[in-house]
Symmetry: C2
Subunit: 188 residues, 2 copies
Amino acid sequence: MNDKKQQLLKASIELFAAEGFWNTPTAKIARHAGVATGTLFNYFPSKDALINAVYVELKHEWREHVLAGYPEEADVKSRLEHIWFRNIDWGVNHFDHYSLTEQLRMADVLSDETIRHQNEELTFLYKVVCDGFDQAIFKEMDIDYFNRIVLAELDATVRYAVAFEIKDMALTKLIMTSIDILWNGIAR
Amino acid sequence: MNDKKQQLLKASIELFAAEGFWNTPTAKIARHAGVATGTLFNYFPSKDALINAVYVELKHEWREHVLAGYPEEADVKSRLEHIWFRNIDWGVNHFDHYSLTEQLRMADVLSDETIRHQNEELTFLYKVVCDGFDQAIFKEMDIDYFNRIVLAELDATVRYAVAFEIKDMALTKLIMTSIDILWNGIAR
DNA sequence: CCAATATTTGACTGATTAGTCAATCGCCAA
DNA sequence: TTGGCGATTGACTAATCAGTCAAATATTGG
């Protein structure tokens, strides 16, 4: 990855997170990255392409963080708890990146290519959920509905923790509570 | 409420729902409502004010729908289930309005006045939740966290139902499942 | 029927923005 | 040193849009 391209991505993430991507002109991004407007369009054919690249970059960061120390061979509950902990940790400690990622996902700006690329990186998630269903750990429900419920609770927990500045011991306790709520809800 | 004002609100809702409110020019709204650009600004001092009025209008619709047949004197679980059913019903059958409401709530475009006005209309919600805590029906947790969890699951359920076109019997079954997941999660 | 008042109109303004492109720069090979 | 070439520049274009305002039109009261 080129040096200037990386700078442009970094600048985009900072500005998008601070002011929203619709309100951030390409000229401002270029200036913030220390290059000219034209240079931005050498590396990214359009603002849309830049936005997609930003999303891929953020999701990559996220994945690295969540997968650190992932107990691939452990039982379903342990794996799910690992993902849960690490996800909330990332959401709370990099909330601007977390929030921007969600915004982009919601905003209908992601290309099919980006979505496909992302799904490929999420196979580890898919695996743990399938294992849970295979082992009849979870209640009977559609896997897509299951995913939505899990992600929704995760998101609610992160945003609550950030909104009320829950930290340290209190955060650990909150995460415990959230896992309890989730597990009681979805497990047989 | 004035006739033209109502037309403008209606046109705004239709266009915002179809194309997003950032992508809808005021001129287009006015044309769609059958008035001139200038007229829009007679009734709403700015596009922001119009957006806020749209939100208030949608929330009003929502409240009417959710409160229809509300068993004010029933026990906590019955009241919560009523709200749950009616909310999903509204979300599924008026998804464009539902989705627009959520978009507006997320997008940081609502004035303090609008938010205050909305909270006043939500006392019935506040009451049932407080009753639940007073009667020690729910697990011990912060009321704000509780609210977020409930709304998150509700939203996940609506979006899943719409995405997979769940209807009639299947929808009723989904709602049952969702209540089960919620209740097992939050109740003692 | 007229005058006064209120409402409506839409061309216009000023500001903003994604994307272009001819000119310039800087690097390297001959 | 020089010629060539890809990378970089930023002034510029064409388009878009929120909001204005003077003129036109409708409404109301006497």
